[in-house]
Each structure stands twice: as C-alpha cells, then as structure tokens.
Amino acid sequence: MFKMLKVLKTILPILFFFCVWQILSMMGILNPRFLPPPIEIIQKFVELLTTDDFVIDITQSIKRVLIGFVIASLFGIGLGIFCGMYKFIYNFINPIVEMFRPIPPIAWIPLAILWFGLGDNPAFFLIFCGVFFPIFTNTYLGISSLDEIYKRAAWSLGASRRLFITDVLVPSALPYIFAGLKIGLGVGWMVVIIAEMVGAQSGLGYMIQLNRTILEIPSVIVGMFTIGCIGFVMNKFMTFFEHVLIPWKYN
C-alpha cells in the first residue's frame, strides 16, 4: 500500500507533464512539425517496436557501451589498485592521466574515425576515453584511503600479501569503485550516442541523426526517450549490484 503510494507520487508529475504537453498541442500552441504531441509519439513508438531496425539499434547501442565499459573498467580498476598500493607508480602515472583527463571524449572523434574507421571500433575507443577516468580515479581513492588501523590489524593477524589484497584492500575500496563504475556507465552511455551520431551505421545515436535528416521528428523523440529509459534502467541495475556486492553498507 505504502509502496504503491510512493510509485503514484513519482508517476503523477510525469503524467501531468505529458497532459499539459498534449493539451498545448491540441490548442495549437505547439507546432506539431517541431514538437509533435505525446500521443503521436507513443503511436510511433509502438509502430517502431515491431520493426527489426529499431530493435537492432537498441541492442547495438547497449552492446557497444557494455563492451567499452568492461574494457575501461578492467583497465581503470587494475591501474587504480596498482596506483593505490604503490605510491611511486601513482606519482608516475598521475601526471599522464591528468594530461588526458580534461580532453572531452567528443574531441577524440576525429582521431577515432581516422584510426578505427566507422562502426564498432571507434565507439569502443571513445567510450573507453570517457569511462576510464572516473573509474581509475575512484578506485585509486578507495585503495589509498584504507585506514592505517586495518592494515595494522591485518599484518598483526598474519595476513599474506594475497589475503591482504582480496580480504582487506579490495573489499574496503568497493564502495568507491562502485561510485566510479556508476559514473563511468553514465558517461559511457552518453558517449556511445554521440559516437553513433557521427561514426556508425546503426545504434540509437545513428537512428535519431538519420531521422532528423528526413524530418521524421516523432521518431527522433522516440529515440531520445528510449535513450533516457535505458540509461535509467542501467543505473538501477548498477545500484542493484552495488547492494548485492556491498551488503555491509546497505543493510
């Protein structure tokens, strides 16, 4: 009962938003050529769902972001752990990281296309450029902020190096690592759409760009909302994994 009320509280404002939009369209205040009414968009969405192209676009985008995300996570977490454990590695790596970090992934697009052509590969590369940094930084922060007292406790109980890493260092840093992964996945989802808008022949980014050129505005908006919904669901998934893997933080 209480839960239903909570759901209702979230849904009502959204319904209100669409109603106002619909009414404004029906009153002729909004020009349907630039902003079609919600009912038309919903019809378009249902129509598109039955086409293969749209489903392929969705799976393509998700596939690209997941592959890029996994590669960047492996590098980011691995390097973050090393840097957190060995100050001299951090001192060497960090200036290089700081040099590349301020470059937005979008600025890599020309080089990405020059090096990798069109299709999946430039997208993986661009996603990597966006995802690596938040994951690396957060992992490093988590590993290096381990309280001295836990190190002392572990050593005085006779911990081997391996046990120290698997049972103390990494679990203690997991909340930080997950914060990085969540930010990273959000960035990755943004980057994949941009990458597809300029350098791919499929995917949701490609789909909205294509429909813009043929002035198929309802499809553009369907694409936009789909991107938003998938981003939302991905974040929920990450939160779910976070609760499963870090039970001591969320009980």
């Binding site: 007292i149 050593w155 109980l157 006779g158 049972d167 679990p171 001591w248």
Partner: protein, 253 residues
C-alpha cells in the same frame, strides 16, 4: 616465552614544524609467560606507542625489543593486537572477522569452522555470527575484536585500551570474560589502560608511567591469584592498591 623492552627511546617529528617530541625516555621492563602486564599512565604519555613498538608497527630510536631473545622487526601473528575500537573489518561479518586470522594460517575449511564456532561461544556471539559490525553495539564489537585476536592463538596479545569506550557495566563483564579466556588459553597479555580499577582487576603487575617523555615510575605487584571473582573489587586490599597507584599517578596529570 618472555618479552623484553630494553632502554627504549622514541621520539616523533611534529608535522609542519621542525620540533621533535620525545615520547619514551629510556623505558625498560620484562613480561613473563602467561602474565597479564598492565600499563597505566596519564593520557598522551605514550602508552599506545609502547604497544605499537612491541607489535612491530613502528621502531625505536634507541634500545631493543625482543621476544624470546629474538629482536622484533615487524608485525606478525605471534604478537596480535586488540585495538581501542573501530578496528574490526566493517566489510566482514562477525564470523568473517574471526575467521581472518585462521585463513592466514591456511587451515582447512572444517577446522576453521570448528574454531570459529568455539570462539563465538566463548564471547557469547553465536546468534550474531552473520551480522555486520555496523549492526552491533560497541561492547559486541570489542568482543569480536578479542575473538579475532585470540583465534590465531598467539603467545602474546597486546590490548590498547580495548574497553575505554564501553559503559562501566559492560566493561566489568568484559574484564571478567577476558580473565576467563586467559585462564583457558594462557596467553601473555600486555594491557594498556588509564583506568586504575581495570589495571588492578586484570593485572599481575602494573607499570605506572610518568607524563611525557615517559619513564616507568614503578612496577606494582598485584597479589591476587587467578581466577578472580568480581567481589575482589570491594576488598580493602583492592582500595589500598588503588590508592597507592593513584598517589603515584596524580603527580603526573
């Protein structure tokens, strides 16, 4: 088993400053097998520094610390530590925390399980085995800390004001439990406290320390045998000892 602390001098550099604080000034003492040796002294006098030195976390400027005539040159499972608080791993359950030291020893899974169950019983936490530290009271956390340290069966256990943040009833009960466990496992315990009652109730010997730079003022022999009943806290001899230690300590505060 014997622990020796010979002519130890230790100082620390102050951060952002070129000053040096002398913490320990020529401290020597000796702790014998299965003895409970208490250190009392004013706060900030360097009691914890002594523990950190003996555990091998830090090293003296001068002097030697040895265990069975072997120099202490780093931390290890033959000398475990029970810290003041917040030192049990928050990411491990009660069971996981107690298990940690045993996992370090590469014991078989079933052996580890038996040992942990036995310890859980000793510290009365059987029904909390799968809880995380955040769900426990301070007293329970310190029970876990004790069980974790006793699990590795080291010959020496250092305890750095382990009961300082407990209310006085819980503290009394944990002191009694500690004595019971010690009678069973016979470890040597070096116990740091600023609470005189606690030192008398637990200790065979009590070293009274001066303020910084600390020296040992005197080492007092406590006459009570073990096991000790809670009622010794009300005996005239207990008060006599307490008075004696307080007189010695009050000049230092």
């Amino acid at each position: 088993m014997k622990i020796e602390f010979k002519n130890i001098i230790k100082s620390f550099a102050v951060k952002n400053n070129h000053d040096i604080i002398n913490v320990l000034d020529d401290i020597s003492f000796e702790v014998k097998n299965s003895e409970i040796f208490c250190l009392v002294g004013p706060s900030g006098c360097g009691k914890s520094t002594i523990i950190n030195l003996m555990a091998g976390f830090i090293f003296p400027d001068k002097g030697e610390i040895s265990m069975d005539n072997k120099l202490v040159n780093g931390p290890g499972p033959q000398r475990t530590v029970v810290f003041q608080e917040h030192a049990i791993f928050p990411w491990k359950t009660v069971r996981g925390n107690i298990e940690f030291g045993l996992k370090c020893k590469n014991l078989s899974k079933s052996k580890i399980n038996d040992e942990v169950n036995c310890l859980l019983k000793k510290v009365k936490l059987e029904s909390f085995a799968d809880r995380y530290p955040d769900e426990l009271s301070v007293g329970m956390k310190q029970r876990v800390a004790m069980a974790r340290a006793f699990a590795v069966k080291s010959e020496v256990v250092f305890m750095d004001e382990p009961f300082a943040s407990l209310d006085s009833q819980t503290r009394d009960i944990l002191q009694e439990e500690l004595l019971n466990i010690q009678i069973e496992l016979k470890q040597t315990i070096i116990f740091v406290t600023h609470n005189i009652d606690e030192a008398i109730f637990l200790g065979d010997k009590i070293a009274v320390m001066s303020h910084r730079p600390a020296k040992i003022k005197e080492i007092i022999q406590v006459g009570y045998e073990r096991p000790r009943s809670a009622s010794i806290r009300n005996q005239p001899y207990f008060f006599e000892l307490k008075n004696k230690i307080w007189l010695s300590l009050r000049d230092e505060i």
